[in-house]
């Protein structure tokens, strides 16, 4: 149900290791809770993000949520496509709906994140 190759944070972000970099987005669970995403506010290249600190905002018609970085580092790329097509977060949250690409400071932080099974359990516990 949840992609096995990703790691997950308690704030519903996912992280994918791509070589030396880490790509970040939000999970399908989060996207469904928000309902139709209308706007995403992402940091520019070069901005530093901090583990479990807010790095941006995702908005739907009925809610606004902070985005929390699952890893500390520097933003090397931001998905500007989401400015014109925020709905991609709903339709393809793990692919085209990615949000930032990060050069991590401390890759060990990834070890603190959950596996797909652990995340599924977490959201199963909190209900959907």
């Amino acid at each position: 149900m949840y992609p096995q190759d990703l790691r997950y944070s308690s704030e519903h972000e996912w992280a994918r290791v791509e070589g030396r970099q880490v790509r970040v987005g939000i999970t399908k669970f989060a996207a469904e809770k928000l309902t139709d995403v209308v706007f995403v506010d992402l940091p520019k290249k070069g901005v530093k993000v901090k583990y479990m600190q807010p790095f941006g905002v995702v908005e739907s018609v009925k809610a606004v949520s902070d985005l929390y970085a699952p890893i500390s580092g520097t933003v090397v790329d931001s998905n500007t496509k989401l400015l014109d097509a925020p709905e991609v977060v709903n339709t393809d949250p793990y692919g085209e709906g990615w949000m930032i690409l990060v050069q991590p400071e401390d890759p060990k932080e990834l070890d603190t994140l959950m596996t797909a099974d652990q995340y599924a359990t977490m959201i199963g516990e909190s209900g959907s």
Binding site: D36, V38, F39, E59, S60, V61, K62, P86, E87
Partner: protein
């Protein structure tokens, strides 16, 4: 892509025809000097603003037709919880339009505005009596504006006492959104305390959250669940015991007029929503009037000017060194203060109590008739409003509270408040007010019960509602994704 035969309802710009005029002004009776002789050319517009050019009849027809695409208290029932949509008396419109009020310039010398100042003074005395407060300011233009004023005064109060460690404001999890938003505007951190199983503020949780870094608690009483805070005396002890201030959001004042006074419950400051409890018309979203009452220790911090009386004369006092300043220019939404004053003068003391009793009776009647058809989060008698949950309908029929609300529109009523307070899933909040008759309430109840049956037997008609309104369900997602906030030609 439009449905054949169904044209979009035109905007006024679409009637524009060059050369048409809709107004009349006298010919200039002073020399018609060239504009650029009076004002340097670089300041002058090259083109007049592209406002529509329409005739007076175009204006009248357009706005008359628009008015028919609205829903108002004058037309029908508006059971919006937390809004107190009571009847707006016509006589108030007449008195507010007296030229002595409507054509009075705010900088008229006070000696020539004694009637206005007397009205403000008397209104203040009456609201102070009703609320148990010492003085009342009328500067705030709305409830949220009143909250801002109240919290600014609390902040100034603690500054004057050197208590700079007080950086937090406590709100219940059922609080109206303006409460935390206001706290943030005044630089406070918001601490949320949960409600207990009876819908009261959880006193143990409050005690745990309270310390000397808390400046104030903001409470609505009755709260946004329509329930009176039964443990208000314990709350008062805890809050004042920690040296903090009690702020009351007066949105639900309608339930307790003449029965209990916020001042007597221990509140130090409160705002009134004159456009709720005191009948001033909502006007499609405003104007409101958010008067703020304070106890004596906060009086020095009131915004300026303050109306003072010397014998039988009234004046405006600006010599108040500890004042927080001003939250708007001039004195307040005076036009609405005239209406509120007229209301108080018509109701008198016994009238106040009758309002509360009738409002609470009406709400409990509706609750009693609806309680078996909807989930109810709290098993208590309510005050002037009550909260139900559409969770059963969602679970059993896949019909949400939003769907039910939209279907209510087809039955000729405005929907109740939905999805507020946030602590009740699929919340439906209903407030009939005392100005509604049993007959109207019965009709609404029948409609809700009918929709409940529809949800079970033909849910699609509910899920795709509304059907009889001027437009069908609108695409809010598109509106947010592709904001179109002004008309442009050739769309």
């Amino acid at each position: 892509m439009t449905v054949p035969g169904k044209r979009d309802f035109p905007v006024i710009f679409e009637f524009s025809t060059p050369g048409r005029v809709g107004s009349s002004f006298p010919a200039p009776d002073v020399p018609e000097l060239a504009l650029d002789a009076l004002v340097p050319a670089e300041h002058l517009r090259e083109e007049p603003a592209a406002l529509p050019e329409v005739s007076e009849l175009d204006v009248v027809r357009h706005y008359t037709r628009l008015s028919h695409r609205n829903f108002s208290i004058d037309e029908g029932f508006y059971p919006l919880g937390s809004c107190t949509m009571k009847y707006n008396p016509k006589i108030h419109e007449d008195v507010a339009r007296f030229p002595g009020f409507s054509r009075l310039h705010p900088y008229t010398p006070p000696e020539q505005a004694q009637g206005a100042l007397q009205l403000l003074w008397e209104l203040e005395r009456q609201l102070a009596e009703i609320s148990g407060m010492e003085r009342v300011t009328f500067q705030p233009a709305a409830g949220a504006h009143g909250e801002l004023t109240g919290l600014l005064m609390i902040r100034a109060y603690f500054e004057s006492r050197g208590e700079r460690q007080r950086t937090k404001v406590v709100v219940p999890d059922s609080a109206h959104g303006t409460n935390p938003a206001t706290a943030a505007m005044v630089g406070y951190q918001v601490i949320t305390v949960k409600s207990d199983s009876r819908g009261n503020m959880d006193v143990d949780a409050l005690r745990a959250a309270m310390d000397e870094t808390v400046a104030a608690i903001m409470l609505t009483n009755p709260n946004t669940l329509g329930l009176f805070e039964e443990r208000i005396t314990e709350v008062e002890e805890i809050v004042h015991g920690n040296g903090a201030q009690m702020y009351m959001d007066g949105a639900n004042f309608n339930a307790i007029l003449g029965i209990t006074r916020p001042g007597d419950q221990g509140f130090d400051v409160m705002h009134f929503n004159l456009h709720k409890t005191f009948t001033t018309p909502h006007g499609g979203g405003g104007p409101g009037a958010g008067a703020v009452g304070v106890k004596s220790h906060l009086v020095p911090f009131l915004p300026v000017p303050v109306v003072e009386r010397d014998g039988d004369r009234f004046r405006l006092d600006t010599n108040r060194p500890k004042s927080i300043g001003k939250v708007r220019a001039f004195y307040g939404n005076f036009g609405n203060l005239v209406r509120a004053y007229a209301y108080l003068r018509s109701m008198g003391s016994e009238g106040m109590r009758q309002i509360a009793e009738a409002a609470v009776l009406n709400a409990n009647y509706m609750l009693a008739r609806l309680r078996s058809s909807f989930d109810r989060p709290y098993d208590r008698l309510c005050k002037h409003e009550f909260v139900l949950a559409g969770t059963r309908q969602k679970r059993q029929y896949g019909v949400t509270t939003r769907d039910i609300a939209k279907r209510i529109l087809d039955y000729g009523f405005h929907a109740p408040t939905i999805y507020f307070p946030l602590i009740v899933d699929e919340a439906i909040m209903i407030e009939p007010t005392e100005t509604e008759s049993k007959r109207t309430m019965d009709e609404f109840i029948e409609a809700l019960l009918a929709i409940n049956r529809e949800a079970k037997e033909s849910p699609d008609i509910v899920r795709s509602a509304p059907h009889t309104t001027p437009v069908k369900r609108l695409d809010e997602v598109r509106a947010a994704r592709q904001p179109d906030l002004r008309w442009k030609p050739q769309r």
